[in-house]
Symmetry: C3
Subunit: 425 residues, 3 copies
């Protein structure tokens, strides 16, 4: 791997402070920075466009937001922490009582030091997020609320990058860029995906075509599917939603809805043979979830899983100001890139072959490929016996206990000797 | 539930003393009493009618039966206990030695106080059933045997009641009325079935059509299938044989031969979520068994299971005079009605739906059905994701762990919002 | 069984000293002796014949082989032990240094008293096998090597015996005759197979046709499949490779590649109900293995498993001079014959039937076949209910827990009563 900790750190720091939402300049600015690593096409989908069952909403412009206490103290300034404003808030300027203000405040009594992350994309309202500790200190009196925001006709923005391979069968890596200043969920996702793209780009002779998507969650993947869904139904071989890959927890793999696709089998194989003994496999569930909810909706049912570390909703810091730069670790992100890369290489290796001489064993010795080592002979005979059109190398590895690497090397020798030929899955 | 313990008790007492057999006035009298609760059609199938591989036998008329001991004492009088005569005995009048009599006596040495229940429907013979204790006191000498019986051309009688629903898909409840003065097996069966019928009749908007059968065991269900078998093959959605539902034992569910029909899945779901933690599930077996032996014969293979408490053959009192009114309990029968009712409601709720917007998630918020509670959102997203034509609500409940009730309520909301439509199973 | 320990012993002793290889007079002489027990056809396949992906090699003629030490002592004489020569060695006569000789010697440092068994069928070379203890005593100096051998155009020889049955569906018993002076692997195999053939021949009214094959391993079964493979694809009902059946270890059953064929189900049933509680079941693996590697190649995928005792490669003495007459036992071979015979009888009994009166239960009493014993009634009702075209008797035995014998006897009664008819599998 070429990716360094210093590079990751640099991009994390640059992307961190940007005020992102599901639309608007925050997304554009973030995609601009990621474009330094990934050569991507920026797609703009105009406000009002019908995308599947949804409609692209207006673009949110947020210029300033804060509150002046009765004692004149300025609080909840989004320039201090962009979580302070309920994301997508409508504009509001005016003086209100503390009682009225309370209806617009969000805090977490059970985590008094944390500012919650709240959004209201499709219900027009305004609100502020505050730590419960601070909330308790608010005096009675009149508060001046200032939200300089606008919802304008504009567009939804996403970035798409395609790395071509020998076949037009595709592998999708999907991640999202709509959460402001949250670490594990979400900043780890686009950063890991970006460097994974660069690693893949440096591999020669890729078998598969790789499609990377950097989009706002839900509405972004829906807009993408609205355009690419039919094509992916035909061409998608495997895919993953890259999210929550920055903390120190063990890996969690959430299966695709189909449960036994190449995406699932490769991820589970690599986790099984990796040195990390602790990991978790979960069957698909439609909620909670990220964009696999759309990819795995019944009308698409694509082979898309999600490799994470500690999953959304499974850690207390989730969707609060405590999911911050301290919560995530650069070395975990490097490990996540490595694990994703291993899974993708596993898919590259996992061919399916047909034994051209299936009646009896082919005579290896006549072809001068009879192996010297008994382990290698084992690999030959397993590959030849089970390459009957029903088993790919991952399946043969499961049956035999022989590593995918060994089986792959054997398959290459058999291909060269003309006793196997490769078949499309 | 409207059924009261007092009502059950009244009918049990009235039905108890009747001398039932597989044909004859005992069956007719019993059906007449049950007709006070269930508005049923009485069907008479004439002696000699071919029914499937069987022929309806002659009708048994039994007027009197007893024995006079050498010392003049009258014993084994059927007016004391109608188990004393081997059911379907041929007539006999005459004086015989004790040695000869012994060939016609049946007792249970291992249960010396019990009178066994013995039948001989298809082999012409006569006999008496006696407690082993009494048998041991019989003196040597000449015995006078008196059996005033007749086998006449008549008919086999059963009762059939149909409660129509919105669809002509049917649910069958089958129970039998041929055992004289036996409690758990059988009187609990027709009494529970009768009150279950009354409970169902009071439910409005039943989805399914309910067919209740009160028949003599084996030959009765064979006669019924001879007439209704072809129709049930097309229309039967689920069915149960109601028997052994009066004792205090835990519930036993015997699966249909197919093993995974709606009948099976509903019964197992309700048992699983009921407060009773102890219950037993058994795969289908053709013997021992009741009328499910006919419904689940390979030529019909209907979706018919059987919910019981302690199963035939699993309790010592079975088929003896000890399976009496003390052995059964009114409150157990009330519980059995409740459990059957819960299962039938479960089947009523267990619809199968198709998501009309299967590509991506439908936008709930635009339709103003976005739920406030996260548990309710979970229910929405599971129902929508898995309503793909392959999963009914019970299957979605199994996958998600969400209760059938919640899923049903969600499905109704989705139906009203026009994002699901119901499909026939 | 008619086979006696004395007979087995006699044939073991006669076959033991013969210098066998994959071709040549050793095979012919061995088949000649076995022909005294089994009336077989001897097939000769000429050198150079293409058989599947292989070519029949030249015939090996070995007349003499030994070495004269520098001190004049004659060692490694094949007349002392025919394992001393690397099987299929090319001729060589000449004087060489100890250093040069070392390149041609094979010994086992970890088993210093054992002479290894080494072959080189398809790579032309010469060599000697020696115990490591003896190797350590070899003095420096000049050694005289003498190998009087020849590779001539000739043929490959195998023996085939067919015992006809009522149907042309076949059961194959395959064993090999190419290892010189090795006990468990291989001499136990042909001897057990030969007496098994004689036992079967004495059974009247065999349902199946039995085909026995005595061939050199690998190339022999490949030559046989080249001729019979197409036929066996159509006609083979079950088959076994008989090998490693002479030691005292527990039985090992290696499943066919398909894993659930009649061969597998019968072997596993008989092992399960046999008095021996210890046995091992293994899924198919293509290596290590014997001729099932060819039968279960993907182009044939025949229903052939292998019942063994201690499997090749699982005991230290395997392929050394210690796999000798002391390692095997006559009583184990008798037990192996018995176990194979039980499995074949199990297959003979394992019919598949169709209930002619599948709607409801057929009325047994009218046909005077209603059983007196409740266990027998159980057998009747299981056979009748599950004889629906999907279940053979072994499957019904698994479902019911009733022994195959009982089910078979019941099926015969039902056949005679005209309520079942037999169907081809």
């Amino acid at each position: 791997m070429n990716t360094t900790a210093a590079e990751i750190q640099k991009y994390i720091y640059r992307l961190w402070p940007i005020m992102r939402s599901i639309t608007g300049d925050g997304v554009r600015e973030s995609l601009g920075i990621i474009s330094e690593i990934v050569d991507m096409e920026i797609v703009e989908v105009p406000t009002g466009t019908r995308v599947l069952d949804w409609v692209v909403p207006k673009e949110w412009v947020i210029r300033d937001a804060y509150i002046i206490r009765p004692d004149g103290k300025k609080i909840l300034d989004i320039h201090d922490n962009n979580l302070h404003i309920v994301n997508y808030s409508i504009p509001f300027k005016g003086k209100i009582s503390k009682t009225e203000l309370e209806n617009h405040l969000h805090s977490l009594p059970e985590m008094p030091e944390a500012i919650p992350y709240i959004t209201s994309y499709y219900v027009p309202r305004w609100g502020f997020c505050i730590s419960h500790n601070e909330r308790l200190t608010l005096p009675d009196g009149e508060y001046e609320v200032y939200i300089d925001a606008e919802h304008i006709d504009g567009s939804l923005t996403y970035g798409e990058a395609v790395l071509p391979g020998k076949t037009d069968k595709e592998i999708l890596l999907s991640t999202y860029v709509c959460h402001p200043s949250l670490g594990n969920n979400e900043l780890s996702g686009p950063v890991v995906a970006a460097f994974l793209h660069r690693e893949l780009a440096s591999i020669e002779d890729r078998r598969y075509t790789y499609r990377f998507l950097f989009c706002p969650e839900t509405i972004g993947s829906i807009a993408f599917l609205s355009k690419r869904g039919d094509y992916l139904r035909k061409k998608l071989h495997a895919g993953y939603v890259v999210t929550c890959v920055g903390d120190n927890g063990p890996f969690t793999y959430k299966r695709s809805r189909r449960g036994d696709t190449t995406a699932d089998r490769a991820a589970e194989y690599v986790l099984k043979v990796s040195k990390d003994t602790k990991y978790v496999i979960k069957d698909f569930f439609p909620v909670p979830g990220s964009d696999e909810r759309q990819y795995c909706s019944p009308g698409f049912n694509l082979p898309v899983g999600s490799l994470m570390r500690t999953m959304y909703g499974q850690y207390n810091e989730y969707h609060t100001s405590l999911d911050n730069l301290q919560y995530i670790s650069i070395s975990s992100m490097l490990d996540s890139i490595r694990m994703y890369l291993d899974i993708l290489i596993c898919i590259e290796y996992n061919g399916k072959y047909l034994n051209i001489f299936p009646e009896g064993e082919p005579q290896l010795i006549r072809r001068k490929i009879f192996p010297k080592l008994s382990d290698e002979l084992k690999s030959f005979l397993w590959v030849l016996n089970y390459s009957d059109g029903n088993n790919d190398l991952l399946e043969i590895s499961n049956k035999s206990g022989i590593s995918l690497d060994s089986l792959y090397n054997t398959a290459l020798k058999c291909l060269r000797a003309g006793i196997l030929h490769e078949i499309e899955d």
